[in-house]
């Protein structure tokens, strides 16, 4: 080993020790639970110094060790500035704001992400997935840099509300970085480029072995799809599910147990078959109560379901 190799090995040592820490996991009857940080509706705005501490405190209060964290909770600008919502691109300010977001991504030192990872790990928590909504407003340099950011955050991969056309662009990046992207669905059945049906997922899964699924069982049900059947068929390609309850026929979100989503059947299917699918709570129904109280109510519902 020459001097350069030795210095390189020493430079990597802190990260090596960090990776040796036991990964924090929360299980209920063998089923792993996490939270999609979108669930915390009353957080400080993007970039606020209290944002990360509030997420950490919320996870600790819930007793849930891992999360899928939205890019708007990591980056100092809301995810609306990064182009996912087509409607938002019509704003006259969008080109300038989008360019500012791009330049921030391309120039922020990686220590920025490492520091956030350390704060989670010091609290006994883990960022398992980085939720970035890749879209055609990303440049290749930006895509590349975002994969680096996910790695520094300690994420295993991405969850992404994206489109089939963008998935094609991501194929070389998942290969280069050896990092997966799990496609997240909504329920727009009119646009074949959107993830909303079994066929749209299957098209993406065929593009790369590093493409997986974040199945939002609420949106899937609202699109009149069968979540149980899809999980039975594709459980080995599903990283996590978003647990929420919606009514069929594009119906609204409802408190857990009051919609048409087969939450209980899905959770028991995962438990009974020991599928390695993580279950991430996503709170989006209406309430006058603070979101943390509602996420706790969602978690309690799942615990009751899995106890029987």
């Amino acid at each position: 080993m020459n001097r350069r190799d030795l210095l390189k090995a020493l430079a990597g040592a802190p990260l090596l020790f960090a990776r040796q820490r036991p990964a924090a996991v929360t299980t209920v009857n063998g089923v792993v639970f996490g939270v999609e940080t979108f669930s915390f509706h009353d957080l400080p705005p993007s970039g606020d110094p209290q944002l990360i501490p509030t997420i950490i405190k919320s996870l600790q209060t819930l007793g849930i060790a891992e999360c899928e964290i939205m890019s708007g909770h990591i980056e100092p600008f809301a995810s609306v500035m990064t182009g996912w919502w087509v409607q938002s691109r019509r704003s006259p300010d969008f080109p300038r704001l989008r360019e500012e977001a791009r330049q921030w991504r391309l120039t922020v030192p990686m220590t920025y992400y490492r520091d956030i990872r350390r704060r989670f790990e010091d609290a006994g928590l883990r960022i398992y997935l980085y939720n970035v909504n890749f879209n055609e407003t990303f440049t290749d340099a930006e895509r590349d840099r975002t994969f680096g950011a996910a790695r520094e955050l300690g994420a295993e991969g991405f969850s992404s509300s994206t489109a089939l056309s963008e998935a094609r662009r991501l194929v070389p990046f998942v290969k280069t970085h050896n990092m997966f992207v799990a496609m997240h669905n909504h329920n727009n059945l009119a646009d074949p480029d959107q993830f909303a049906t079994p066929a749209s997922f299957e098209t993406a899964l065929a593009m790369s072995p590093l493409f997986h699924v974040t199945l939002d069982i609420g949106h899937f049900t609202a699109g009149n799809n069968d979540a149980v059947a899809f999980i039975r068929q594709h459980h080995d390609r599903i990283i996590n599910i978003h647990v929420r309850d919606r009514k069929r026929n594009n119906g609204p979100n409802r408190p857990f147990g009051q919609g048409d989503t087969p939450i209980a059947d899905v959770l028991r299917l995962i438990r009974n078959n020991r599928y390695s699918i993580r279950c991430y709570l996503e709170y989006e129904y209406g309430s006058f109560r603070p979101s943390l109280d509602e996420v706790q109510t969602c978690f309690d519902y799942c615990k009751r379901v899995l106890a029987s």
Binding site: H41, D42, A78, V80, W85, V86, Q87, S88, S161, H186, N187, N188, L189, A190, D191, Q194, A222, R246, K247, N249, N250, G251, P252, N253, E284, Y285, G286, S287, F288, R289, P290, S291
Partner: protein, 226 residues
């Protein structure tokens, strides 16, 4: 202590309780995860529909912070044209399934809930638009001629008012800011239980929802110079 210092201290002593009362009044407007409580029983019913159907997640609890690609309901022409839910109701029931992230369909809402919801949305819109249009200060940039055209045409102001009778010399009676505020909302700032707005106040609220900034500048210029 000089006489001036003494006077200043008395003034400060008088101001502190006034400010305190102001803060207490603000504190009475209770807030929860769905925003501020509504000022009347009927509007609170509407807020309940709005919040429990999670409309506020996308459209904002005061309509001004639309997210996730949702329409800004303070500017939506559909909301501006709505009467007691005749446009909002069918749209909300059908949903917008073909949006990138679909707006859900709320078929289970009753007719009464639709009316309550629509009135609450209009209330929020009126509050937001009053704040927005009150900031239009450059009335000097208004076009008097365009203001006159609006007064006699699209605004239908002439059906109730006359610049030679009730509005004669109104430009000298009020300063520009007051004139603009009275033009935007001649009734009370906040509705109250047991107090029905007059037909004229209702008409002004409808205008308030639909004025452009240019309309306000032009009207103020037209009325202010007489």
């Amino acid at each position: 202590m000089t006489a001036m210092t003494s006077v200043r201290n008395y003034v400060l002593l008088a101001i502190v309780p006034i400010l305190t009362i102001g803060l207490r009044l603000d504190a009475r407007q209770e807030r929860d995860a769905g925003g501020f409580k509504a000022p009347t029983v009927a509007l609170e019913r509407g807020r309940t529909v709005y919040v429990l159907n999670h409309c506020h997640f996308c459209h904002g609890d005061d309509l001004t912070r639309a997210t996730m690609g949702a329409a800004n309901l303070t500017q939506s022409p559909l909301v501006g044209a709505d009467e007691d839910g005749n446009i909002i109701g069918p749209l909300v029931k059908a949903g917008l399934p073909n949006l990138q992230t679909a707006m859900p369909s709320y078929v289970e809402l009753t007719s009464q809930e639709i009316v309550d919801l629509a009135r609450y949305i209009h209330y929020l819109r009126q509050q937001a638009r009053f704040r927005e249009l009150s900031r239009v200060t450059n009335t000097a940039a208004g076009d008097r001629s365009a203001g006159e055209t609006y007064f006699n045409g699209a605004g239908k102001c002439r059906s109730c008012h006359s610049v030679t009778v009730d509005l004669a010399d109104i430009g000298r009676k009020y300063d520009t800011a007051t004139l603009r505020a009275r033009m935007l909302r001649p009734g009370p700032n906040v509705p109250a239980d047991g107090v029905s707005p007059t037909d004229g106040q209702v008409a002004h609220l409808k205008l308030l929802e639909n004025y452009t900034a240019a309309d306000v500048q032009n009207l103020a210029a037209y009325l202010g110079v007489r």
